[in-house]
Amino acid sequence: MAGRVAASGAIEVAAKTSLWLQPHRIGLVAVGLALVVSAALFMRWDWVPNYAGLAVQGLWRTIWILAVTSVLGFLLAIPIGLVQVTGPAWLSWPAYWFCTVIRGTPLLLQLWFLYYGLGSLFPQYPWIRDSFLWPYLRQAWPYAVVSLTISYAAYEGEVMRGAFAGVARGQLEAARAYGMSRWKLFRRIWLPQATYRALPTLAGETVQQLKSTPLVATITVVDIYAVASRVRQETFIVYEPLLLLAVIYLCITGILVFAFRKLEARIPARLG
């Protein structure tokens, strides 16, 4: 019995593969491989071993910043979105304006405003240097994390607003009829339902967040883009570092999309 299941699984995979591997695809894949091989042979890659250690550090920093800002930003987006659907006006108006202002200005400007704008205030208030925050205010990564988190929260706040508003009223009413407290309703019904609705959009937005991470290199945070920049500056090689960088980002995006797809598959089947 197990053998037949395994065999049918293998046949399924083989069927899918042969569906995908049509003649024109084989031709395209061959051309692609030829390009990759010729690039590997004829372009300058002698710098790779010298910068491998730095590249791993930079890659880790990119992934770490992406993960932290996405999670924190999402957590922040939940109240921002919710409060615009339910909340009293004195909460929903600031949330609305927060989303509008952050989404209406470029991230680069926000990043520089935070880092250099705040930085220009430090000389005027010497007591800042004695405060406990100073070790963090000194370094660049807190500003990167704060700025990217705020940005993600604003965009996701808008998405969550739509998601919260889109959950069927009937579900909320049924929950109240069951005597669930507001907190339980939120935790068990509203938030999960809204998250399921928002998941496809969240996947796209997280990829956007990944594409925003290179900007932190302009405030001296050494992510993988900054490492590629350093390679370009020190060796004066124009194309190869950028090409490798693009491939790295493609890989990370692929992993992200795959992970989100797995998450979406775990959503309980919707009943209409």
Binding site: H24, G104, L109, L242
Partner: protein, 253 residues
Amino acid sequence: MHSGNEPIDAIILQLQANIFDLLALSPPGWGGNLMRGLFHSILIAVGAFGIGILLGIGGAFGKLYGGPVLRDLLELYTTVMRAVPELVLILLLYFAGTDLINRVLELLGYQRIDINGLVAGICVLGIVQGAYSTEVIRGAIQSIPQGQIEAARAYGMSASLMLRRITLPAMLPFAIPGLANLWLIATKDTALLAIVGFNELTQETRTAASTTKAYFTFFLAAGVLYLTLTLVSNVIIARIERWSRRGQPVGGH
């Protein structure tokens, strides 16, 4: 306007004293520079958005009606452009792209052409926008009720006539939300060109701030300008969306 709080008083004083001098529209105020930068930003955004739409229409048609090779190549194009950060793409297309074009021209025996910085920026952002608008327009075309296409074919309309009279106008209402989003993205992506030195609003802001050391003032001013652009765009987009839905049955299906 004294709150009795020293640091806040200091900020207020500094702001009052300097802000109008610094932001004055004519030199030695930097307001004129900022407005010029804003104009360049809008120019680049319009150009990039326009090129994006043209590429998007072509790409959408290629993906829907083209041969298998074309479809795969377009899939590759949209996937890569949407997965790689704009900054990396801008650097690649700006340095590598213009270099390749000139090398090809030299190979063919023509003179090197000098690609103006503005044009290069517009092309680069336009190519990136094209990938996104391909998906938007493709989705919009697929939302057109099939009956309209069939009726057009039954009337014997040629492909180009159908494109002009039926497909493009009908897909507009479906495409507008996505395209509106792309326009807003275009206006903000122009800021990235500051990193390659183009004279748009963010770069002018950086130069002004670093020359006068009034970082807060200028970054806030630039933020206000971008926000105004966004808000005005939103109003115009709402109007366009209402216009595009004219004549359509109310309360969709």
